[in-house]
């Protein structure tokens, strides 16, 4: 199979997945109890006003008509207008997206930067104290839940030690270089929380695949050829062991995005996740539809890229 047809198949699958996610989101939101007019209007509003709001939101139309109108809007690149904020959904999301990208990419990079040395350390000292310690750390990390680790970090690091701010993405009134430092400072706690909850599985996967790789024939041959252990480990075995770990990163992206919703909520981080939380409480369907579409696209694009990169790295994948 050529790389072009491989890519086309993956792309087609991605489009279908996005359509499915869009449809499920659309239907699920309308199955939620309550209605947006009740959520946004004052309790003293009359039934007539509520009916007027439902008409304004287009929710008085039959479900099928609403769905077709929504798909038509999407095909024109229009995500609609927020019920509560009266501004285009695209603007709402555009204001928040950079923060979510910063948080998730930051956490992803940190996971890889910390995870690789830990995995290598554990695999190269298999059965030793360090290996056991890393495994305990990995299993503990897998059982962590963002809100619990988040609140703990807020209390200890934020309040008691005062090493990091309690919430937000930067300090108001900072500019230029100071602003960038402030952004990094505010990223510490949410970034650490998100990293800690996904680091465990990454380290354990990497360790297991590296242990397997170190037992392969080409490693034996490399040793027989007199290559140093360091070179064998980092230049040869690790490269092969990274393939499943790369896949895991792609698969974890969905989890990472879910984790970002929780993290942003706990740390009042102004990303899309926090926006989703607010939109859910207000039943702001257009914002929720737009946010979930964006998240679905992110996951699909990341998975497609992972597939393509994997196919590029390992030609056997394309052939199968």
């Amino acid at each position: 199979m050529s790389i072009a047809s491989f890519a086309l198949r993956r792309l087609g699958r991605g489009v279908l997945t996005v359509w499915f996610a869009v449809t499920v989101t659309f239907l699920l939101l309308r199955l939620l109890p309550g209605d947006p007019a009740l959520a946004v209007s004052s309790p003293t509003q009359t039934e007539a006003t509520r009916a007027l709001l439902l008409t304004q939101y287009g929710l008085d139309k039959p479900l099928a008509e609403q769905y077709l109108l929504y798909l038509g809007q999407l095909l024109r690149g229009n995500l609609g207008t927020s019920f509560t904020q009266s501004v285009p959904v695209l603007d709402v999301l555009a204001a928040r997206l950079p923060w979510t990208i910063l948080l998730t990419v930051g956490a992803l990079v940190l996971t890889v930067v910390i995870g690789i040395p830990l995995g290598v350390l554990a695999a190269s000292r298999r059965g030793g104290f360090l290996d056991k310690a890393v495994q305990v750390f990995g299993v503990t990390g897998q059982s962590l839940f963002v809100p619990s680790i988040g609140v703990l970090l807020l209390f200890v690091v934020g309040l008691k030690l005062r090493w990091a701010p309690i919430g937000g993405a930067y300090s108001d009134g900072t500019y230029g270089g100071q602003w960038y430092l402030s952004v990094l400072h505010h990223l510490v706690l949410p970034g650490l929380s998100l990293t800690l909850v996904q680091l465990g599985s990454y380290v354990l996967t990497l360790r297991a695949t590296l242990v397997d790789a170190l037992a392969d024939d080409y490693v034996v041959l490399a040793r027989a050829n007199g290559l140093s252990e360091r070179r064998i480990l980092w230049k040869h075995a690790l490269r092969n062991a990274l393939l499943p770990a790369t896949t895991l990163i792609g698969l974890q992206l969905g989890f990472l995005v879910g984790g970002a919703v929780l993290t942003e909520t706990v740390f009042a981080y102004p990303g899309v996740g926090r926006g989703i939380y607010e939109a859910v409480t207000q039943l702001d369907f257009p914002v929720l539809q737009g946010a979930f579409l964006m998240l679905a696209l992110t996951v699909v694009v990341a998975n497609t890229l992972t597939d393509l990169v994997y196919g590029w790295l390992d030609p056997r994948v394309k052939a199968s």
Binding site: L32, P33, G34, L38, A39, V40, S41, S42, P43, T44, Q45, T46, T49, L53, Q56, T84, Q85, S86, V87, V92, A95, R96, P98, W99, I101, L102, V105, G106, L154, G158, L159, P165, I166, G167, G168, A169, Y170, D172, G173, T174, Y175, G176, W179, Y180, V183, H236, R239, F267, A268, Y269, P270, G275, E278, T281, Q282, L283, V309, L313, D314, P315
Partner: protein
Amino acid sequence: MAGSPRPARRAVLVGGLGGFSAAAIAACAPSAPEQPAQQGGGAAAGTDTLTIATTTDVVNFNPTVGNSRSDQWVTGLMYPRLLTIASDGSKEAELATKWGYVDPTTGYYEIRDDFVWSDGKPLTAGDVAWTLNAVKKDAPSGTFYGQLANFVQARAVSDTRVEFTMTTPDSSLVDEIGFWGCVVPQHVFEPAGSIADFANDGSSGGWVSAGPYVLTKVQAGQSYTLDRVAKYPLVEGGVPVAAKVVYRVFPDVNTEILALRSGEADVIANALPPAQVQPLTATDGLAVEKATGLGYAHMVYNMDNPDLAKAQVRQALAHAADYEAIRKVALSGQAVSTGSSPLMPVLAKYHDPSITEYPFDPGASRALLQQAGYSADADGMFGLTFRLIYSLQDSVTSQWAQMVKDSSAKAGIAIQLQGSERNTYLAQTNDGDYDIYAGNFAIMDDPVLNFSLSYLPDGAINYTHVDDAALNDLIGQGAATTDLDEKVGIFRQAAKMVHEQVYDNIMYTQDLFFAHSAEWSGFISRPSELLSIVNPVSVASATKSAG
């Protein structure tokens, strides 16, 4: 090795990802202002920033649409009210200097002549009349429009006087529009078309304010920055003290408290949970201020249920709750009894001390149920089971709902608790899908409006589904008279009827407490969480101590 990425390709991949996120964030980087942001600078004006913590984002910057507390706190610093509320629930001057009735169906406001919009245009009666007419015409979803049921049209008869007509005599309309309404700049809002659709998000050249501060920067999900305006006549010296006010969003009140203790916030805008009041009062460096509550918590019995349609069953339920214990345990004693009356003690002119709280008396409940024809089984239960709904987001109600369940069991009545998230709870309430509704209202300041909404058959919050001709008649009479003594007499009669028939079971008014850093002083506390210490005059008066 076959299949391994070449270093150059890898570098491009990683570099591309890093470059993308860096570019995205760089787009957010603010540049330093070219000149000091504050526009004012009188003798009392300081250079400090007052940081106020809130738990929700501003949903809509249009004050006629936004309903959330954050919406009202932030936009309240820009769009003045005609009237404010005193600690006894009566109305006091804010933008208006005089208000009242020209005749039974014509109201008026005289407004100050020294208010100026931050773009230099004067605030006139024309702005007031335009705002009222636009809200009536376009029906925005906020609380303001809900007050305009009997409003017909307003006109500016001079630069400082507005008169408006009503469909029917309504003795509460002038007060209620004055408090729940606000004034927006006609020259900014009118060109935008419908006032109900205008986002007022600053995208067309920023915001224009006639309050003490004007919004200058918004980071949705994080903070709202407001700069001092040049002139605000309602504060001593005519200039707000703090140079900037920043509303910071935190996930919940517990995180707000952490931020206050760590110095990241100076004030918590939300009322403190009862259990936090004492510890924070005793914390060095913090101060706690009290604000009178203007609302109440209540239980409502749905008369569409045949059992609850019987007055004796409702009375039995009213005697089956231990109100004193509820106030002591769920509210740490920070609440006062309303005497089971909708005319709470805080409404001093209306409150009738001869109406007293239903005593907790399971024996009396049992006797009432027997009189109503019910008999108890071997376990002492009367075969009556009622479903009580409440919002899980309301931690105090969630706590006392359980106490009501336990105490009702002693009277032989089974209560099924159904706590729901807010939207489900609202839908159940709207559909009348409950036997007993438990909830609270933050501000019930005007008996005419409250009785009309709560007990008239078409009232928006008539959760009892009561339609009592005698009560309807009394409310109609009370709404029509502008004679205060007569009105007080009529509503006391109506309250007695509500109490006797248990058309509503009003349980308590909660005292509200607000925390701030002891470095700041000069707050002017007003009743309710809506005004509290974050009302515009209070915020503009707050001063940071030197050193």
